[in-house]
């Protein structure tokens, strides 16, 4: 069996206390190291819930989530924060940059959160990532003074800054035009090859999904299809 960086065992998610809505049903799923995966499915099928549970942003109602063999469901809030900082990079549909900071400062933020001193080496890495996403010229712009595509690319550079093993992306191109969408996916793919980062990307764009090594379809809170190339 290949090395699994993410593993879900019997994950269920129920929202609400009075009126209970079950969103995920007995999900068993594993993602291999260095793989490039996409998750598709209709709106409301439970994709985001699943991704948030993988990313420790949310806890499953029952079941286990293992990242690199570590049961995250047992970890404290602080340990989870540390784990997110070091091993997971998030890219959301709405880029979620810190508007008070420049693009460059946003990219450096995960390093600062880790408490690592900003050395010349780290600055060089930030510059390199900004170059990779094509933002060298606007790196000192405040987040709010950039186009949507630029902001999303900043978020990608930020997600990569701490060399996370896993990148979780929830419709990262959801509000970008199709040309930019194509660019962003090519970029993610390139990063996957270059840095051996595991990607799990939610997308509603079948064309994009097909570029992945594996397509997982979620339907009504269950894995309906699991297609590997």
């Amino acid at each position: 069996m290949a090395d699994n960086v993410i593993e879900l065992r019997h994950v269920e998610k129920v929202y609400g206390t009075a009126v209970k809505t079950q969103v995920l049903f007995d999900v068993n799923l594993a993602f291999e190291k260095e793989s490039f995966n996409s998750i598709i499915g209709q709106s409301g099928s439970g994709k985001s819930t699943l991704l948030n549970i993988i990313g420790t942003l949310d806890r499953p109602t029952s079941g286990e989530v293992l990242l690199n063999g570590v049961k995250t469901t047992d970890l404290s809030k602080n340990k989870l924060a540390e784990l997110r900082n070091k091993t997971i990079g998030f890219i959301f549909q709405f880029h979620y940059l810190l508007p008070e900071f420049t693009a460059y400062e946003n990219v450096l933020m995960p390093v600062r959160i880790a408490g690592t001193p900003i050395t010349e080496e780290i600055k060089a890495r930030a510059d390199e990532l900004m170059a990779l996403v094509g933002l060298t010229k606007v790196k000192n712009n405040l987040a709010v003074n950039m186009s949507g595509g630029q902001q999303q690319r900043t978020a990608i550079a930020r997600a990569l800054m701490n060399r996370p093993e896993i990148i979780l992306a929830d419709e990262p191109t959801g509000n970008l035009d199709s040309d930019t969408t194509e660019q962003v996916y090519d970029l993610l793919r390139e990063i996957n090859r270059k840095f051996k980062t595991t990607f799990v990307i939610i997308t509603h764009d079948r064309r994009i999904a097909e570029k992945a090594d594996r397509i997982v379809e979620v339907k009504d809170g269950r894995i309906a299809l699991d297609l590997r190339k």
């Binding site: 949310d58 784990l83 997110r84 709405f94 810190l98």
Partner: protein, 387 residues
């Protein structure tokens, strides 16, 4: 310190709001500083008018016709007390101006020491203070009434005391004073102690030991230790406080109301900061959610808001001190009486101002605990779901 830097950036990015809060705190602090300085100043001037030119702790015999013999010993002890600013002695004789047949009090005092208490040199109208025995200064009104000239000799008559001493003493008028109290101006004659000892035909004795204090409100403590040292039932130690109870209760009332005002000002500043900071948590909940997704810990997130409170507190306190000082400066510079003294007596006490600043800083920090706690409850999921 990342949370601190983030706090600073948050504050900078909404500069208008930040300045508003700082000004709010500043006005609170300046009101506090101003009211505090005003009340303290008023009290100080009232106390000074009441006891500034008189003895604050007085040692005398209980019987009026007795004198203190061991005064040198008492003074030596009193001078060791740290709160004592000055000590002097007086010897009073009830005499008569023989020529005019007018009753007077001839007060001998060691002017070198007692001037610090009576401020006689400030009250001098003409001439000079007595420099040798048998030189006197008298009230300006008495001087005018009797038509004296400086250098005139006056005949002081004292009824015989049984020893058959010479009843007439001749002294020279070398100056006049104005105590702004009619009775004093009309009846007091000030000279040296040996002169009065001669008039009374007594040995080396005085009738009172008089003092002034650095901390006038601690007079009861010093009076108690002086009484304990003297330990003589015939001797009385009189503390100004026991003689000015109504003044004291007035002062206490003022202090209490000033404190109340300051407490309410502080309270409204705290509530103001707390509510504004609570709003900034809401404003920044998206950022907090993003930071948490990137791995910031709850403790760090709350420290962002604590830092905001502290930064606002520091700048608010500084602003308050500046406004307060400005107010005090303009009041003491531009609102003057004809004689150049300020209309409103203000006491500018750096210690009190530092305390006000500290209170503002602490209350701002304290107020920020509420938003800091709130920030730990921000859920990442809620933030990313709601865009």
């Amino acid at each position: 310190m990342l949370p601190f830097k983030i706090a600073l950036r948050f504050l900078k990015s909404s500069l208008g709001q930040t300045i508003g809060i700082i000004l709010g705190i500043g006005v609170g602090v300046s009101v506090q500083v101003f009211i505090g300085s005003l009340i303290t100043g008023l009290q100080a001037s009232l106390v000074d008018k009441t006891i500034g030119s008189s003895s604050q702790i007085t040692v005398k015999m209980k019987e009026d016709d007795q004198y203190i013999e061991d005064y040198a010993e008492y003074i030596a002890y009193i001078e060791t007390l740290p709160n004592i600013a000055s000590v002097a002695t007086t010897l009073d004789a009830n005499s008569v101006l023989f020529t005019e047949n007018k009753p007077v009090i001839v007060r001998g005092t060691d002017l070198a020491d007692s001037d610090a208490i009576y401020k006689l040199s400030d009250k001098l109208v003409r001439g000079r203070l007595p420099a040798a025995d048998y030189e006197v200064v008298i009230g300006e009104s008495l001087f005018a009434e009797l038509g004296y000239a400086l250098g005139d000799t006056i005949d002081i008559y004292n009824p015989p005391t049984g020893s058959g001493a010479d009843e007439h003493k001749f002294v020279t008028v070398v100056g006049t004073f104005d105590f702004q109290v009619a009775l004093t101006n009309d009846t007091l004659i000030v000279t040296t102690i040996p002169t009065v000892q001669d008039i009374l035909n007594v040995g080396d004795v005085v009738s009172t030991v008089i003092t002034q204090l650095d901390e006038v409100f601690d007079s009861d403590l010093d009076a108690a230790s002086i009484a304990a040292f003297i330990a003589d039932d015939a001797v009385e130690v009189i503390d100004w406080k026991t003689q000015n109870e109504s003044l004291l209760s007035g002062l206490n009332g003022q202090t209490a109301s000033s404190l109340m005002i300051q407490v309410f000002v502080t309270l409204s500043v705290v509530l103001g900061i707390a509510s504004v900071l609570a709003i900034t948590v809401l404003q920044k909940s998206k950022q907090v959610g993003i930071l948490k997704a990137m791995g910031i810990k709850d403790s760090q997130a709350s420290f962002i808001f604590l830092s905001q409170g502290m930064i606002l507190g520091v700048f608010g306190a500084i602003t308050g001190l500046l406004i307060g000082l400005g107010l005090l400066y303009s009041f003491t510079t531009f609102a003057l009486n004809a004689d150049g003294t300020p209309v409103v007596p203000l006491s500018i006490d750096p210690g009190f101002m530092a305390l006000s600043a500290l209170i503002a800083f602490s209350s701002a920090s304290l107020a920020s605990f509420i938003p800091a706690r709130k920030s730990t409850k921000i859920s990442i999921i809620e933030v990313i779901k709601n865009g």
